[in-house]
């Protein structure tokens, strides 16, 4: 290690189990690589990144074969100050607990929960926990026979109890599928997954060992999560269900599957509103899976349908959007390998930990700025433009009821002048304008003549407009919130958001992701947010930006006057 004195070491371990990593020094990269196996990256603003030691992160490390001594040695080598005694104790205690309870298969195929010989009382403690008893089909000497359908819930319960189960019972083998990644796409372009995409799949699959095969891969928008999904599919080589956020996303996956894998079009089936068929690779949506005739009916017909199919892998796209009923399904299909893909893992409903419990732990995570430095995603300049209120709007805003104030501010007509100034500045660049309020978008459409994609736009029309944009025949496209996800518009390099959904960090990140695909000419992306000054919109904007600032992005705040004068 290059750090010669304690003061040069980049890591600070706190008593509350957070770890601060100072960036910029010569040892930063080494320290980051050392922390990743056993600590969760919480945020990565520009100068100091925050990691956290949790029981889950330590159990993950233990499951990957790391020992407590290795973890402590790394921390002591990198820490500027002595590692607190309580942290040392926690690392030793947590890591010692992993694997003390194991799920295995008996000779007769029964699912057995047993204790490691070094901790025989762990099984008694598990049995003493009342909810665990409901999962047990039979007691055998030194083991409990667990009901097949309770495998997920058992693991959840025991994790809560502090006894993470080492699941060595394996996965059910799905129907075989002959599939590989192409070396040349159907478009004739050479294709090979990027280094980090291959690493993500390796971290997920773990060579087919029972310790792998489930988990979440977190990559920035524009970093090619779909490619990770395709590579995982090719690695597992079994029939696969891919759950997407929308029909548009289904189309995009379908296009990528056919373009970049050896699958024939007939191998890719669709369980959507339009087509209902199951096949070797089936694309569906969360909306369809959770559809039922009425809220009084408990059954989800589509879910029952897919549950019965011999999948070898289920891919949950944008896993941070997973709705509650799908969580339940994920809980029940623990015998199937499952991969979650996301850019943010931020759930505004606070259920991020459910993703960890039911899909699996985070297996791979690369900070946005790391990919930006390596050129895998475009650099982006984020700018918040503060637009003043007119006297009339100021009065309207002051008199509006509390819950209407945001809308009054966000839909301010004064933003249009600034928007036009920005459009003029980026006249030659493929530009997206995105907004939450349809009447605001409509006003922009009327004044610019640009087409819009909203929830009401038919799928075919959406496809047509996206294709025109991709082909460079359309330079300006207006999007409502449907544009937050899965619109494949890789050429867009400027995005102007005229309004957003209150303080949604997830939406902000997704919207930035629309312009992060690296540009062929290497130019940086521009991301503008128009905010009405002196209103609650500025507060919400600050909250929206939190996730991205924690990923290392900086926001410049400029006044509308500067934009209008061409200065900013």
């Amino acid at each position: 290690m290059g750090a010669s004195t304690a003061a040069d070491r980049p890591v600070i371990v706190q008593n509350d189990h957070t770890i601060l990593l100072e960036t910029g020094g010569p040892v930063y990269e080494e320290a980051r690589d050392a922390l990743v196996p056993f600590a969760e990256l919480v945020k990565a603003p520009e100068y100091v990144h925050t990691y956290r030691l949790t029981s889950l992160s330590l159990w993950n490390a233990a499951s990957a074969g790391h020992t407590a001594d290795e973890v402590l040695a790394a921390l002591e080598r990198l820490s500027r100050f002595p590692v607190p005694a309580n942290v040392i104790d926690a690392i030793k205690t947590h890591m010692a607990r992993y694997g003390k309870l194991r799920l295995t298969r008996a000779g007769d195929g029964a699912l057995l929960l047993s204790a490691h010989e070094s901790e025989p009382l762990a099984l008694d403690e598990a049995w003493a926990h009342a909810p665990v008893q409901t999962f047990v089909a039979e007691r055998r000497p030194g083991a409990l026979v667990i009901r097949e359908d309770a495998r997920g819930r058992l693991k959840q319960e025991l994790t809560t109890l502090g006894w993470p189960v080492e699941d060595l019972a394996g996965y059910q083998e799905g129907a075989r599928l002959e599939v590989a990644l192409r070396e040349v796409t159907q478009d004739g372009a050479p294709f090979r997954p990027r280094d980090y995409q291959r690493k993500a799949v390796e971290a997920f699959y773990k060579g087919g060992q029972s310790g792998g095969g489930s988990g979440v891969v977190v990559l920035p928008c524009g970093a090619g999560k779909t490619i990770v999904g395709l590579a995982a599919l090719a690695t597992v080589g079994q029939q696969t269900l891919i759950v997407c956020t929308s029909d548009m996303a289904v189309r995009q996956w379908e296009r990528e599957l056919i373009d970049k894998t050896t699958l024939a079009p007939l191998d890719v089936c669709e369980l959507t509103g339009k087509r209902k068929e199951l096949g070797p690779v089936t694309l569906t949506t969360y909306q369809l899976l959770t559809h039922r005739k009425s809220k009084q009916v408990e059954a989800y017909p589509a879910m029952d349908l897919v549950r019965a199919h011999p999948w070898g892998l289920i891919v949950y796209d944008e896993v941070h959007l997973l709705p509650a009923p799908v969580f339940r399904m994920a809980c029940e299909v623990q015998a199937v390998r499952r991969l979650g893909l996301t850019a943010t893992l931020v759930r505004e409903d606070g259920r991020a930990s459910d993703v960890f419990s039911l899909i699996g732990p985070k297996r791979y995570d690369v900070p946005w700025k790391v990919l930006e430095q390596k050129g895998w995603i475009a650099q982006a300049a984020c700018t918040e433009v503060r637009v003043p209120m007119s006297d009339a709007l100021r009065r309207d805003y002051a008199l509006a009821p509390q819950r209407e104030k945001f809308r009054v501010a966000a839909a301010s007509a004064a933003k249009l002048d600034v928007l036009f100034a920005l459009l003029a500045r980026h006249r030659a660049e493929p530009t997206l304008v995105i907004g939450t309020y349809l009447e605001q978008l409509e006003a922009v459409a009327q004044l610019t003549g640009a087409p819009q994609i909203t929830g009401k736009t038919p799928a075919k029309e959406r496809e047509r407009l996206c294709a025109l944009f991709r082909a460079g025949q359309l330079n300006l496209l207006l999007l409502s919130s449907v544009g937050n996800y899965s619109l494949d518009l890789p050429e867009a390099s400027v995005l102007i958001q005229v309004s957003g959904l209150f303080g949604s960090r997830q939406e902000e990140a997704q919207r930035l992701g629309r312009v992060l695909r690296p540009k062929e000419d290497g130019r940086a992306a521009a991301f503008y947010t128009l905010v009405t000054e002196g209103t609650t919109e500025t507060d919400f904007a600050m909250n929206r930006q939190r996730f991205l600032t924690e990923q290392g992005y900086r926001y410049a705040i400029v006044d509308a006057a500067a934009v209008l004068e061409g200065g900013a």
């Binding site: 600070i12 509350d16 603003p45 520009e46 100091v48 000054e533 600032t549």
Partner: protein, 696 residues
């Protein structure tokens, strides 16, 4: 008192061997004429009638017993204060004048001789609530007392001989003769015997110093009730075979330095003081009108101090010390955020940051010197005494510290010894009461092998329920607790290192700071510890400000600007810039540019990202002010009258576009809601009510 005149002593008296053995002021006293002694007693007492003896005054001034202060007359000389106290109290308890059988007077005289430990021991004895003297009398009347003491005290140098000399003299003799006959060990033996309530001192008719056996012991020795009594030689001095002699005290072994040691780096009290000041800056710690912390807030302070694992406790003691220390050093101030009606807040004073930024040795010395200076009068303003009393702790005075410190005085700094061995050795050489303590530790649930319970729960090891049949036991408890209390205090100021040896065995080593604290070294020692590397402040674009490492002044400044991340502890501190804090600053009178300047200052040269600077400025600029004014409102029964009033009032109608009437009953809630929106209310004094005016 009826003094008898004696001639002024000649210089050749100094050759008198009896007097030559006396300490300085005792020797001078013996040479003084009675008249001069009377002048001295007048100066010591608060007697308004001066004794007219210019020659006596001159003698006293020459010998340093008195000094003449301009405008204030005669005062006791600074070096003679202890002697004056002793003579004054002997004069107040004229034992010999009232007859040696006056138990109460005799025992009261014993209290004179630095027997404060007895006061403590006697809290649990009959009569203790009335006065210490009565309690002592009760103890001294027990005929078995001396018998119990003899085997213990007999091992100490000079004690047996002193008892023998006194017994042969009939139980009472002048101090100079006693010293002559006992020899070099006379004073140490006298100290032990007086402290252990076997012997008293007194003044004869000429105010000469006398020494005598307590009446009960004298009678017991004379009547032969006690084995080994006078006139036979005391048991300990009779010829014995070597096998019958008490075993020599065990040699005190040096042990290896333990691997786990308390009090490396800065002493706990310095850390506590720093943690306290940060807690006061980062949380709201309220004090009542009586200056007491609110219970919830006290818990916050305890939590802030408790973050550092320590062998020393309890936390109430540490928090109390840190608070008193902060107040004593002028590092805290009370602010009044809500007017006279609300609680006051305890905040770091403006000098607190500067103090915390000083080098370690400087801070350490300041704290120790402050404590030593305070201790001479009333250590920490009596708070420690109050706390100690509440917890069954041990009141600290310099005098008691000296008694309790005895086992430590001979230890060289840095020499590690086992606690149990230290006490056993000290018991054999100096204070036999520790023998009882060491021997009885288990039956009393005390573990001398383990610091943590000893210095936390067992610090409360009290004499609440003494065995009244065995007062000696009460005394050994008092000694032990005094010693343990002193160790805890020394550990807090870095005066002693506490460590754990395997088995386990508690071990300790006195430090140079400890020797200074105990008065064994005059100068505060050089500290062989590097200061912590300077900390660093980082302002992040996500509005977080991090203090990495130790940068206390910056941290205190940031606490005024930003909200600390709750639950965080460790070498780094995270603050989040928040609108609420900025509104507070503007409400307190700061301008937007001053708020930003304060952030830049606190950042100590670190870059403040542009979006952060802009956001902070915008928050500050967005603050609006409104004023609560009290105006008369005319209420009518019908609209027409209201219109009439309005037409007459014209421009005098105040409820124009810039005035909003609000329900006074909901004003407080409204204020809070407005503040959240960045509107700060200034409030006029409400007008006096009509009824009150009527009374005037």
């Amino acid at each position: 008192m009826s003094p008898r005149r004696t001639p002024t002593p000649a210089p050749e008296d100094l050759a008198d061997p009896a007097r030559a053995r006396l300490p300085w002021f005792d020797a001078i006293w013996e040479r003084l004429p009675t008249s001069a002694r009377l002048v001295f007693l007048w100066a010591v007492s608060e007697d308004a009638n001066p004794v007219d003896d210019p020659a006596g005054e001159a003698l006293l001034i020459v010998h340093g017993l008195l000094v003449r202060r301009r405008g204030r007359g005669l005062e006791v000389g600074p070096d003679a204060l202890g002697f004056a106290d002793r003579i004054g109290r002997l004069d107040e308890a004229p034992v010999l004048e009232r007859g040696t059988d006056d138990d109460l007077a005799v025992t009261a005289a014993c209290v004179v001789r630095g027997s404060s430990l007895f006061e403590l021991a006697l809290r649990g004895l009959p009569g203790a609530s009335a006065s210490s003297g009565e309690g002592l009398a009760a103890l001294a009347r027990r005929p078995e007392w001396l018998e119990r003491l003899r085997p213990l005290l007999g091992r100490l140098p000079g004690v047996t001989r002193a008892l023998d000399v006194l017994a042969r003299a009939g139980g009472l003799m002048p101090l100079p003769r006693f010293c002559e006959e006992v020899g070099a060990a006379a004073y140490p033996a006298l100290d032990v015997l007086v402290t252990h309530l076997a012997v008293f001192e007194g003044l004869d008719e000429d105010l000469g110093l006398m020494v005598g056996l307590l009446p009960e012991h004298r009678r017991a020795l004379a009547s032969g009730e006690v084995a080994g009594r006078a006139p036979k030689p005391p048991r300990a001095t009779r010829s014995k075979s070597a096998a019958e002699q008490p075993a020599p005290p065990p040699a005190l072994a040096t042990v290896p330095r333990p691997t786990e040691i308390e009090a490396t780096g800065a002493p706990l009290l310095l850390d506590d003081l720093e943690a306290l000041l940060h807690a006061l800056a980062e949380t709201k710690v309220r004090t009542s009108q009586r200056g007491e912390l609110y219970v919830d807030d006290e818990a916050q302070v305890h939590a802030a101090l408790g973050a550092r694992p320590s062998r020393v406790g309890p936390i109430e003691l540490r928090a109390g010390l840190a608070l008193e220390l902060a107040a004593g050093l002028g590092l805290v101030r009370e602010v009044d955020p809500g007017g006279a009606r609300g609680p006051r807040l305890l905040r770091p004073a403006s000098d607190a940051g500067e103090f915390l930024d000083r080098p370690l040795r400087d801070r350490w010395r300041t704290v120790v010197e402050h404590l030593l200076a305070e201790e001479r009068h009333d250590w920490l303003g009596g708070v420690l005494d109050a706390l100690a009393a509440r917890m069954g702790g041990w009141p600290v005075t310099r005098e008691r510290t000296a008694l309790a410190a005895a086992p430590l005085l001979a230890l060289e700094p840095g020499r590690w010894v086992e606690l149990r061995a230290l006490l056993a050795s000290h018991a054999g050489e100096q204070n036999p009461l520790y023998q009882l303590f060491v021997a009885r530790q288990k039956e009393r649930g005390v573990d001398l092998a383990d610091w943590r319970p000893l210095l936390t729960t067992q610090l409360r090891y009290t004499i609440d329920e003494p065995d009244l049949r065995d007062p000696l036991a009460a005394l050994d408890r008092a000694y032990a607790r005094a010693f343990v209390g002193l160790l805890a205090r020394l550990a807090l100021v870095g005066g002693v290192e506490l460590g754990d040896l395997p088995s386990p065995r508690a071990a300790l080593a006195i430090t140079p700071v400890g020797r200074h604290y105990l008065g064994l070294e005059r100068r505060f020692p050089a500290i062989d510890l590097a200061d912590d590397p300077p900390g660093k402040v980082v302002v992040q674009p996500n509005l977080e400000v991090l203090v990495l490492g130790r940068a206390p002044a910056a941290r205190l400044r940031l606490a005024a600007l930003a909200t600390p991340r709750p639950g965080e502890s460790g070498p780094a501190r995270t603050f989040v810039l928040s609108r609420d804090r900025v509104i507070d600053l503007v409400a307190a009178g700061q301008r937007p540019d001053e708020v930003l300047h304060a952030l830049v200052e606190a950042a100590r040269g670190a870059e403040v990202p542009l979006n952060v600077a802009r956001t902070v400025q915008d928050w500050a600029r967005a603050v609006r002010r409104a004023r609560v004014a009290y105006v008369p409102v005319l209420l009518t029964d019908d609209e027409e009258t209201a219109l009439t009033i309005r037409s007459l009032a014209g421009k005098d109608v105040l409820l124009s576009g810039h005035a909003v009437p609000v329900n006074p009953a909901k004003l407080s809630a409204f204020k809070r809601a407005l503040r959240a929106k960045g509107v700060v209310l200034d409030e006029d004094e409400p007008p006096a009510s009509g009824r009150r005016r009527g009374r005037r």
